[in-house]
C-alpha cells in the first residue's frame, strides 16, 4: 500500500518537473530568444549555442495524410518549426496513407541527397526497408511517433508516450475520486487492436488499480467524430451513473461531447486525450464536464526537425551533457487542468 502511494507521489513529482521542463522548452521556441542558463556547461557552443545559424541543412519530411486534427497539426508544426530557422530548408512530401507512395517519397529524398529525413511513417514496419536504405546512403533518419522495426533504420526516434497517457489520466482520476471506493469509471478508447490503444488502456488500468479503482464500462470508437458520438451514446445508455470518463482522443471527443450534451447528463468529470485546443479552451472556461486532458504532443515532428538540424550540424542537445543527440526520446504525457492550461494551449492542435 505504502509502495503504491510512494509511486504515486513520485509520479506527481515527475509530472510537475516535466511540466516545468516543457514550459521552458515552449518559451525557448524561437531561435532568437535563447534563455539558456549561463551555468550550464555543455559541449555545445556557448551563448546562443544551438539556435545560432549554422551550415545550411536540407531536411526531407514525410507524414501520413492529415485525415485527423492531430495528424494535420504534425505537418503544420514541422513546417512552422523549420521556418524559424534560416539555415533549414524543408522539403515536404505531403500526406499520404499509401505506403508505396511514401516509400517513393523517401526514395526521392535519397536521390536528392538531402542532409536528413524526418519521417512519421504510415506504417513503421512497411517503411523500414526504405529507411534502412537512406541510412545506408549516409542520410540520418529521424523516426517520429510510429517506430521502425529495425534499430538500424533510424539515427534518432521521437515517440509520444501512450502508456504514460493512460497513467497520467488514471492518476488524475484517482486524485479526483480516490476516496470513493465504488466509483464508476468509464473509458472511451480509440481504435481497438491498435497497439497504441492497448498501451493507453493498460496504463489507465494500472494507475487506477493503485487507488483501488477499475474501469467499469469500456467502449471503443475509431478516432472519428462520428465514431466518438456513437460510442459515447452507447456508453451513456449502458451506465446510468458515471463518476469519471476517460476519452482517449480529443478528435473523437468532439462527437463524445455532442453525445453527452444530447443526454443532458453532467454528474461525471471527463478527461480528454491527445490535447486539442478546443478541449483546452473548454477546460480553461470550466464550463463543461471536461476538467482535464492528457497530452500526446502534436509537435513531435517539429522536435524531429530540430533534432535533424542539430545532427547534421554536429551539435548536441544543449541541456544534456552528452556529445551526441540522443538515440531515443519519449515525450511526457502531462495532465492539463484549469490551473496549467495556459502553458499548453499555445502548442495544442486544432481538431
Amino acid at each position: 500500500m505504502s509502495l503504491s502511494l510512494s509511486r504515486r507521489v513520485l509520479w506527481s513529482a515527475s509530472l510537475a518537473l516535466a511540466a516545468g521542463l516543457s514550459l521552458s522548452a515552449c518559451t525557448g521556441a524561437a531561435p532568437t530568444a535563447a534563455p539558456s542558463a549561463p551555468a550550464a556547461t555543455t559541449s555545445a557552443a556557448p551563448g546562443d549555442g544551438n539556435n545560432a545559424a549554422g551550415e545550411k541543412v536540407v531536411i526531407g519530411f514525410s507524414a501520413p495524410a492529415a485525415d485527423h486534427g492531430w495528424m494535420g497539426a504534425i505537418t503544420k508544426a514541422a513546417i512552422a518549426e523549420a521556418a524559424k530557422f534560416p539555415d533549414v530548408e524543408l522539403k515536404v512530401a505531403e500526406g499520404t496513407n499509401d505506403v508505396n507512395l511514401q516509400i517513393s517519397q523517401v526514395e526521392t529524398f535519397i536521390n536528392d541527397k538531402v542532409d536528413a529525413i524526418v519521417i512519421l511513417p504510415y506504417d513503421g514496419a512497411a517503411l523500414t526497408p526504405v529507411a534502412l536504405k537512406a541510412m545506408q546512403a549516409g542520410i540520418p533518419v529521424i523516426n517520429v511517433d510510429r517506430e521502425f522495426d529495425s534499430p538500424f533504420a533510424a539515427r534518432s526516434t521521437i515517440l509520444g508516450d501512450n502508456y504514460g497517457m493512460g497513467i497520467s489520466a488514471g492518476t488524475y482520476v484517482c486524485e479526483k475520486l480516490g476516496d470513493k471506493k465504488d466509483a464508476v469509471v468509464a473509458e472511451i478508447a480509440g481504435i481497438d487492436n491498435l497497439p497504441l490503444t492497448k498501451d493507453r488502456s493498460e496504463g489507465f488500468a494500472k494507475a487506477l488499480a493503485d487507488c483501488g479503482l477499475k474501469v467499469s464500462n469500456r467502449v471503443a470508437a475509431d478516432f472519428t467524430v462520428q465514431g466518438g458520438e456513437q460510442a459515447a451514446s452507447n456508453l451513456l445508455q449502458a451506465a446510468p451513473k458515471i463518476d469519471a470518463i476517460w476519452n482517449h482522443d480529443d478528435d473523437q471527443g468532439v462527437g463524445v461531447m455532442q453525445a453527452i450534451k444530447n443526454s443532458g447528463r453532467s454528474e461525471f468529470i471527463m478527461v480528454g486525450g491527445a490535447g486539442s485546443a478546443n478541449v483546452m479552451r473548454d477546460i480553461q472556461a470550466d464550463s463543461s464536464v471536461v476538467k482535464a486532458t492528457v497530452v500526446y504532443p502534436s509537435t513531435q515532428a517539429a522536435d524531429g526537425i530540430r533534432l535533424a538540424r542539430l545532427l547534421v550540424q554536429g551539435k548536441s542537445l544543449s541541456d544534456l551533457v552528452e556529445v551526441e543527440v540522443p538515440r531515443k526520446i519519449t515525450l511526457f504525457a502531462p495532465v492539463v487542468t484549469k490551473d496549467n492550461v495556459d502553458r499548453y494551449l499555445p502548442t495544442a492542435f486544432e481538431s
Binding site: N100, I103, S104, E107, D123, A125, T128, P129
Partner: protein
C-alpha cells in the same frame, strides 16, 4: 523515360489504325508531363535514380492495372483489387506461412499470395457470370469482405517478413533495374501478347462489345468471364508479392484505394469503361502519367492535395476525349 515502353507501337500500328492516334496522343501527353518535370526540377528529374523511383512507384499499381484492363475491356469492373491485395499480403506473411516458407522455400509465400488472388478472382467471376450479379456489386462485396478477413487474420497488425530468401530476392537489381520494375515489364509484355495476339484477348474484346452476340457465336462467355476475373486476381497476387518485397511487411492496409488508381489509369489509357475496346500499352502509359505527376509534385515540394485536383482534371479530360472519339465514330 521512354525506355520502359515495350516494343508496342510499331506492331499495334499495323493492326489497329484508330488506336494509334489515341495512343499517340497519350504518349505526347506523357512526354509533355516529362518535359514539365524536366523544366521544373531539372537534371534531378531526368536522372537514372529518379527514373527508377518513378518506375518502382508505378510497378505495383501498374501490374494491378493490366489485370483491370482485361476486366474493363469485357465490360466489367473489379473493385476488389485493393483489399484483395491487402488480404494476399496478410495471408502470405502469417506466422504459419513464414514458418513453412523458412523451412522449405520462400517461393511458398509467393504461391500463397498468388493463390489468394486467383481464388478471390474466381469468386468474383462466378458471382458475375453464374450468379448474374452486376460486377460493380459483386466485386464491391469482395472489397468489403476481403478487407475484413485481412484485418481479422492479422488482428489489424503489421506482419513483418523475416524470410531471408524473400528479402534477398527483392534486394536484387539485375542490370541496374530493380526486381519490381522487371516484374512490371514482364507482366506488361505478357498482358500485351495475351490481349493482342491470342484468341483469349479477342474473345475478351468481343464480350465487351456484345456479350449476347458472342454467346450466340458459340463462345462460352460465362467461363471466359470467370477466367477474366481470375486473371485480374492473378495480377493482384503478383502485385501483393511486389508490395511485400517493397515493404517487407504484410498488412490489411496495403493496397487501400488501389482500385481507384487502377481504374483511373486504365480509363485514362484509352480503354472504354463500357467495354469493347482497350489498350494495354495505353494502360501502362496511363499509370506512368499518374506516377510521374506524383513524382514531379514531390520534386517541387508541392502539396499532394493540389496534385489530386490535377489528377481529377486529367481523368475528366480523358473521359471527355473518349466521348468525343466515340461520337465521331458513330456520326
Amino acid at each position: 523515360m521512354s525506355a520502359q515502353a515495350p516494343a508496342v507501337p510499331a506492331t499495334s500500328r499495323r493492326r489497329l489504325p484508330p488506336s494509334v492516334t489515341r495512343n499517340l496522343g497519350l504518349v505526347i501527353a506523357f512526354l509533355v508531363i516529362c518535359l514539365i518535370g524536366y523544366l521544373t526540377a531539372g537534371a534531378r528529374f531526368a536522372s537514372i535514380d529518379n527514373t527508377m523511383t518513378i518506375l518502382r512507384l508505378a510497378a505495383i499499381i501498374g501490374v494491378v492495372s493490366i489485370g483491370q484492363c482485361f476486366v474493363i475491356t469485357s465490360g466489367g469492373i473489379d473493385l476488389s483489387v485493393g483489399s484483395m491485395l491487402g488480404l494476399a499480403t496478410v495471408w502470405a506473411t502469417t506466422g504459419a506461412t513464414q514458418y513453412y516458407a523458412d523451412s522449405t522455400t520462400w517461393l511458398l509465400m509467393v504461391f500463397v499470395a498468388l493463390a489468394v488472388g486467383v481464388v478471390g478472382g474466381i469468386l468474383n467471376g462466378v458471382m458475375v457470370a453464374y450468379g448474374k450479379i452486376v460486377p460493380f456489386m459483386a466485386t464491391l462485396a469482395l472489397l468489403v469482405a476481403a478487407k475484413g478477413l485481412a484485418e481479422w487474420i492479422a488482428n489489424r497488425q503489421t506482419q513483418i517478413i523475416k524470410v531471408r530468401g524473400f528479402e534477398q530476392f527483392f534486394s536484387n537489381d539485375p542490370l541496374g533495374i530493380p526486381v519490381l520494375v522487371w516484374i512490371f515489364a514482364l507482366v506488361a509484355a505478357g498482358g500485351w501478347v495475351l490481349y493482342n495476339r491470342t484468341t483469349f484477348g479477342r474473345r475478351t474484346i468481343a464480350i465487351g462489345g456484345n456479350v449476347e452476340a458472342t454467346r450466340l457465336a458459340g463462345i462460352k462467355t460465362d467461363r471466359h468471364i470467370v477466367m477474366l476475373y481470375a486473371l485480374s486476381g492473378l495480377t493482384v497476387g503478383i502485385a501483393a508479392v511486389m508490395m511485400m518485397g517493397r515493404t517487407m511487411a504484410g498488412t490489411s492496409t496495403h493496397g487501400s484505394l488501389y482500385e481507384m488508381d487502377a481504374i483511373a489509369a486504365v480509363v485514362v489509357g484509352g480503354t472504354l469503361l463500357r467495354g469493347g475496346r482497350g489498350t494495354i500499352f495505353g494502360t501502362v502509359i496511363g499509370v506512368l502519367i499518374f506516377t510521374t505527376l506524383t513524382n514531379i509534385f514531390t520534386q517541387n515540394n508541392l502539396p499532394l492535395s493540389v496534385q489530386q485536383i490535377a489528377k481529377g482534371a486529367i481523368i475528366i479530360a480523358a473521359v471527355l476525349l473518349q466521348q468525343y472519339i466515340a461520337s465521331r465514330k458513330t456520326a
